[in-house]
Amino acid sequence: MGYRISLDNVSYKYPGQNRYSVSEISIKFNPGIVYGLIGSNGAGKTTLLKIIALIYKPNKGKLLYNNSDPWNNVVFYRRSIAYVHEKPIMIRASVYNNLAYPLKIRGISKEEINKRIDRVSRLFGIQDLLGKNAKTLSTGEKQIIGIARALIYDPEVIVLDEPFSNLDYHKRRILLDVIDSQASQGKTIILASHDTLMIEKISSKILVLENGKALCFGPTRQIIEKLYEYSCNS
C-alpha cells in the first residue's frame, strides 16, 4: 500500500539563489490514485517531484508521509520511492548491472536479483539489452531502463518526471499498463509531463504549477476544461 503524502506550505530554493523555485505548495496525494503535474518550463515541476521523492529537503513548510516526517528516517522512506529523472542517468556499466544496482545496495541475494531482472526485463521487453553497455543506448532505451530500474524494487511511491518523452508508441502502451497496474495495487503515483494528452489519459487528478506556485488542483477533466478556458485559479 502506498503512502499518503501531504505537503503543507512547502517551499524550496536552490543554494545561492534568492528566488524560491517552489513556493508555498499545500497538497495531499493519496494512494491508489495517479496524479498528473503540468506546467510550463521552469514552473517548478521537477523541483516539486524531487521534494516529494526526498531528494531535496524543503526550506520551509512540512512534508509528511502517513503523518510522519520522512526526513527522520530518510533512507527507509527513500527505499520505498521510485524516482525517475527526466533525462535518464545511466551508471557506467551494463544494463544488467544498472538494473541490479538498487537491489545490490539493499543486500538482496544474487538469485533474487536475477529473478527480478528476468521479470522486469520481460515486462518492459528489454531482454535483448541486458548485456549492452548502458551508456551506448538510445535515449528512449535509457528512459525505459531507468523506469525498469526504479520499479524493480517494488516501490510504494512512484514519481516519474516526463516518463513518456522519449518513448515510442509500443513502450508508451507498456508504461501506461504498468502505471495502471501499480495504481490498482494502491501505490501513490505522481508524474509530470508536458504531454497533456498522456496526462489526461492516465491521471485522475491534476496539479498545475506556475512560477513555483500551485495554480490549480482537482479532477483531471475539470482542470483540463479550466485550462482550455484560461480560468484556472488556485
Binding site: G16, K50, V75, R79, H85, I89, P102
Partner: protein, 212 residues
C-alpha cells in the same frame, strides 16, 4: 646500473610517491569542496594556484626546512623526501582543481541517482567516485606529469646531489651547464617519452572505461 638509469628510476620514484601523496589528500578535498556551495571559494583559490611557479614553492619549502626554519629540526633539506613533499605541494592545486571540476559535474547527477534508488550517503559517495574514476585518473596523471617535469623544487630543496637527489630535470640543467648536451638531450627525450607514454596508457584505460 649506470648513472643515467639510476637518475631516471629515482625521478620516477620521487614523482610517483609525490603524486600518490598529493592524490591521497587532493581527491578527498575535491570531493568535500564539490559538495559544498560555501566552500567553492577554496576551489577557486586552488584553481588560481594551479600555475604557481615551481621555484616559489621550492623557495618557501627551503625557508621552512633550512636549519634556521621552523621545520629545520626534521633535517629533511637536500633529501629525496624534501623533493617529494615539495612536488606533492606543487601538484596539490592541480589535482584538486581538476578533480573538483570532474566531481562537481558528476556528483549532483550520481548522488541524486543513488539516493533516488535508495542508497545511503556512503553508497552514493562510492557511486560518485567509481563513476568519476576515469577522469580522476586523468587528474592524477596530469599531476604526475607536472611533478616529473618540474625543476625549481628539485633543485632548491633537493640540491642536485649526485647519487641522492639528482633527478632528470636537475641533471638536464647540470649537463647543459657543463656542455654535455648529448646526455641532456637523451634525458630530455626520456622525459618526453615518459609523459607521452603515461598519457597514452591513461587514454587506453579511459577508453576501456568507455568515457570517450
Amino acid at each position: 646500473m649506470n648513472e643515467l638509469t639510476t637518475i631516471i628510476l629515482r625521478s620516477i620514484a620521487i614523482s610517483g610517491t609525490a603524486t600518490l601523496l598529493a592524490s591521497a589528500w587532493s581527491i578527498p578535498l575535491a570531493y568535500l569542496l564539490s559538495g559544498s556551495y560555501r566552500l567553492r571559494h577554496i576551489a577557486y583559490l586552488l584553481e588560481a594556484l594551479v600555475g604557481i611557479p615551481t621555484v616559489l614553492v621550492g623557495l618557501l619549502l627551503y625557508m621552512l626546512l633550512s636549519n634556521a626554519g621552523p621545520l629545520g629540526f626534521l633535517q629533511l633539506l637536500y633529501t629525496p623526501q624534501a623533493i617529494i613533499i615539495g612536488e606533492a605541494l606543487l601538484i596539490t592545486p592541480l589535482i584538486t582543481a581538476v578533480s573538483y571540476q570532474t566531481l562537481k559535474e558528476t556528483r549532483t547527477r550520481y548522488t541524486e541517482l543513488a539516493l533516488s534508488l535508495g542508497a545511503t550517503k556512503q553508497q552514493a559517495a562510492r557511486l560518485v567516485i567509481t563513476q568519476s574514476l576515469p577522469n580522476l585518473l586523468a587528474a592524477i596523471v596530469m599531476g604526475y606529469s607536472r611533478a616529473i617535469g618540474e625543476l625549481g623544487v628539485a633543485l632548491i630543496v633537493g640540491g642536485n646531489i649526485k647519487g641522492l637527489t639528482r633527478t632528470i630535470t636537475t641533471s638536464i640543467a647540470l649537463y647543459t651547464a657543463m656542455g654535455e648536451y648529448e646526455n641532456a638531450i637523451m634525458l630530455g627525450m626520456v622525459l618526453v617519452l615518459l609523459t607521452i607514454g603515461i598519457s597514452l596508457l591513461v587514454r587506453l584505460v579511459r577508453k576501456r572505461w568507455d568515457i570517450e
